[in-house]
């Protein structure tokens, strides 16, 4: 499977590794629920999104959380936000 937006993906995974250091980029699948793949609880998830919003300078309203299930969802969402 071709990976979407390699640069953005690398940035997001770097932020994720700040929360879950054991994550290997190659093991993550874009089409699977991210929180289950990486074992993120709500605090981890919040910290992850805080990291993204601070480093990528995007705001993520809580109302949008429901759309961000897979890594693919997140990348699409960020791509759209970042223009």
């Amino acid at each position: 499977m071709s990976e979407k937006y390699p640069e953005l993906r690398a940035n997001v995974i770097a932020i994720l590794r700040g929360i879950a250091p054991e994550v290997e980029a190659d093991d993550l699948r874009d089409d699977r629920p991210l929180r289950q793949q990486v074992d993120l609880d709500s605090m981890d998830w919040l910290n992850f999104l805080i990291g993204i919003s601070e480093q990528l300078k995007v705001s993520i309203p809580e109302a949008d959380y429901g759309r961000l299930v897979t890594l693919g969802n997140l990348l699409d969402y960020l791509r759209a936000k970042l223009g």
Partner: protein
């Protein structure tokens, strides 16, 4: 002059290893100040002192393994003059010489090791000083020695002290959890109750609160749940406290142990102090800090020893409900499952609404199911009035 002794930082801790002194003789210390870092089997813990004073003498060297209750240091009361030179040192008074005064003669430092393990360690050339014991009272056993002698394990002082610190830490934590949970299941007659709680109001309220906030200021549902537990505990104090020496000691404040799973495996449930009296925003900040420090392995001693009840939120991992094992000497544990939409009857009409299954595991020596049921009902009602939390 008073003694500063190694506190028990949890039901399963009976010894620790001094990692670092944060004070030196002559320092003035305040109540609540972190004075030392001690490695328990679970984490490196900041140990606080509970009395103002001036450090007189440090009796234990970093690196020493000491049983709970060992005098670590002596302190002078504020304003107290140090004893004259030549008088019996505080260490001698306490029956414990400093290593500097009598190298190797420290009773406190004597490691517990079985005779068989000692002999085996000699034969295998294993340095017992670096072994963690898995036997009764933390004694080093034959199995510990033989494990240390396996290829890959450190054998001599020249090599890195612990070959696989992470693996060892995990194994110790596993043993510590095993001991505490086995004790719980041996000693505590658990009873279990569950209640399905509608969460529509709470979710709506939380969404409204978070809507106008930047992401760093948002609240998690977990905080709301913790606050609701604290509110319910105020009505049912028999769920909050310790069962020790055959009797229950109620604690006025709800120091809720928050079950935090570690990424490398294992679990710690440090205290979020006095949840009932703090506003949600403060709780959110403290919870975030607590999770961060827990995962970094830098907890305070009071956070290890203070929890009066534990809350676990396995719903995060997707299960519908959780029946917990009480962490002794606590007497109750509240578990939250996943918030999920379920068919629900409201005013005679079938609707679909978000709900959570809350469970209570409680100690039958202290409370009965009737009170437990009332507690869960109170918890349910608290979550229906999130604005009051």
């Amino acid at each position: 002059m008073f003694d500063f002794t190694l506190p028990s930082l949890g039901a399963d801790m009976d010894e620790g290893k001094l990692i670092e002194w944060k004070v030196k003789p002559g320092d003035t210390v305040r109540k609540g100040q972190v004075v030392a870092i001690v490695d328990t089997s679970k984490a490196a813990v900041d140990v606080e002192i509970w009395q103002d004073g001036v450090v007189h003498e440090l009796l234990v060297e970093p690196g020493e393994r000491i049983p709970v209750g060992t005098v670590l240091a002596t302190l002078l009361e504020p304003g107290e003059k140090p004893p004259p030179e030549g008088a019996a040192s505080a260490g001698e008074r306490a029956g414990k010489l400093t290593p500097a005064a009598a190298p190797g003669a420290s009773e406190a430092a004597r490691q517990r090791i079985s005779p068989a393990a000692r002999r085996r360690a000699e034969a295998l050339g294993v340095d017992i000083a670096r072994l963690m014991g898995s036997g009764p009272g933390g004694a080093v056993t034959l199995a510990d020695v033989e494990a240390a002698a396996q290829p890959g394990a450190s054998k001599s002082a020249e090599t890195v002290p612990v070959a696989h610190p992470e693996a060892d830490r995990n194994a110790e934590m596993r043993r510590a959890i095993a001991a505490a949970m086995s004790r719980s299941k041996r000693e505590i007659p658990h009873y279990y109750l569950v209640e399905t709680i509608p969460m529509a109001r709470a979710q709506r309220w939380l969404a409204q609160v978070n809507e106008g906030r930047p992401i760093t200021g948002r609240l998690l549902m977990a905080v709301l749940q913790l606050k609701a537990v604290a509110a319910a505990l105020a009505q049912y104090p028999e769920m909050n406290g310790f069962f020790r020496d055959g009797r229950f000691e109620s604690v006025p404040a709800a120091h809720i142990g928050v079950a935090i799973s570690l990424r490398q495996g294992g679990l710690i449930a440090p205290a979020l102090h006095d949840v009932g009296s703090k506003p949600l925003d403060q709780l959110m900040r403290e919870l975030a800090d607590l999770v961060k420090r827990t995962r970094a392995g830098s907890l305070r001693s009071s956070e290890m020893s203070d929890p009066t009840i534990t809350v676990t939120n396995l719903g995060e991992q997707g299960v519908e409900s959780v029946m917990g094992v009480i962490y002794p000497p606590q007497v109750a544990l509240v578990g939250f499952g996943r918030i999920m939409e379920r068919p629900w009857v409201e005013d005679g009409t079938l609707v679909v609404t978000p709900t959570v299954v809350a469970s209570l595991a409680a100690d039958h020596r202290v409370s009965d199911g009737h009170r437990g049921a009332l507690f869960l009902a109170e918890l349910r009602e608290c979550l229906q009035r999130p604005e009051e939390l």
